[in-house]
């Protein structure tokens, strides 16, 4: 069927890029997306049958019942025909099944971390490392939290060498912009390296 075409983006007419913002609950994902873009709530939903084995205790509920998950969604227009879309990943573990769709084709991801509970971002770090999705860790510097250097955070998270760690204030637009710029630079390097080395497995499997 010819009605689905992909040539439009290649000729530069319209291009959409996707960046994920992940991290533990309450770490500032919504704040970051809101500080750099016009933020809107996005409702998505999954049928329970796809939501995994944790939800099998619902006898009597119709098979096609769905659960709604709210995500943060923001758009940054670079120019006409080129926009970056930010998606705040749902924080709770039970919504992990949504991540695969979000991660497919993503340019990269920001993993927000809070040094007072660094362990909250372990799952996100693992997720992106396993799928070879370029990501950086942005430490959201909350007032009153002890400050750690990027190297200390990288060591504590046992990051692969080269994964950037940046300090940021998610409330601050310039700081949020800088995080995204660092990510795009890093993702560009990672994606071109992968192009040069076709032996690398397909990152999205």
């Amino acid at each position: 069927m010819d009605s689905v075409r992909s040539d439009r983006s290649v000729d530069g007419t319209a291009l959409a890029l996707k960046i994920l913002v992940a991290g533990g609950f309450g770490v500032g994902k919504t704040t970051l997306v809101g500080s750099v873009s016009e933020i809107r709530p996005l409702r998505t939903e999954e049928q329970l049958s796809e939501a995994g084995q944790l939800v099998d205790d619902i006898d009597g509920v119709e098979k096609k019942t769905t659960t709604t998950v709210a995500m943060d969604f923001g758009r940054i227009t670079i120019r006409s025909g080129l926009a970056v879309y930010l998606f705040g990943t749902p924080g709770q573990d039970r919504f992990w099944f949504l991540w695969d769709e979000l991660a497919t084709g993503a340019l990269g991801a920001v993993v927000l971390a809070d040094t007072r509970r660094l362990q909250d971002c372990f799952p996100a770090v693992d997720y992106f490392e396993h799928r070879s999705i370029p990501f950086l860790v942005a430490v959201n510097c909350f007032p009153g939290s002890r400050s750690y250097g990027p190297h200390e955070v990288a060591r504590a998270l046992d990051l692969d060498g080269g994964t950037p760690v940046v300090l940021c204030d998610a409330r601050d637009k310039d700081s949020g912009k800088e995080v995204l710029i660092r990510l795009v630079e890093y993702a560009g390097r990672m994606h071109s390296a992968r192009l040069l080395d076709p032996a690398e497995p397909d990152p999205v499997g």
């Binding site: 769905t66 709210a70 969604f73």
Partner: protein, 137 residues
């Protein structure tokens, strides 16, 4: 039977259908109960770009278009839209928008541009543009 989220569910009881999970919704009334797009089986990415095919639309069977179909078409006419934008702006769940777009695609009244995987970006110029654009925000 009521499936509203229950506020009296004690925390940690193992119930997933609490306030945080959001409301449980009935099978999609406005899609005739369908939860998957039709036989074209297009997987609409959240950032797939949707344009209106005006010529085909002019010849389309008006009766086949519901209110929500028209709403989506009107939005895409103003400017190319992504699936996520359509869902957010029409205040519809993403799954509902996908089914409706599947209908429109079967009628050939929209054009869908799949997002380019980042690894296949034509050149670094695009990313340079993105970086410059971010700086200029």
């Amino acid at each position: 039977m009521t499936l509203e989220p229950t506020s009296d569910t004690p925390p940690g009881s193992g119930h997933w259908y609490d306030a945080e999970a959001g409301p449980l919704v009935r099978p999609y009334a406005m899609t005739g109960g369908r939860t998957r797009p039709g036989p074209t089986s297009v997987a609409f990415d959240l950032i797939a770009l949707i344009d209106v095919e005006e010529d085909a639309l002019a010849q389309a069977d008006d009766a086949a278009l519901g209110y929500e179909h028209r709403q989506l078409i009107d939005m895409c006419r103003v400017e190319t839209q992504t699936v996520a934008e359509l869902a957010a702006d029409a205040d519809l769940p993403v799954g509902v928008v996908r089914v409706l777009l599947g209908d429109l695609l079967e009628m050939n009244v929209i054009r869908v541009s799949r997002p380019v995987p980042p690894a296949q970006l034509p050149d670094e110029k695009i990313l340079r543009e993105v970086i410059d654009g971010l700086r200029a925000l």
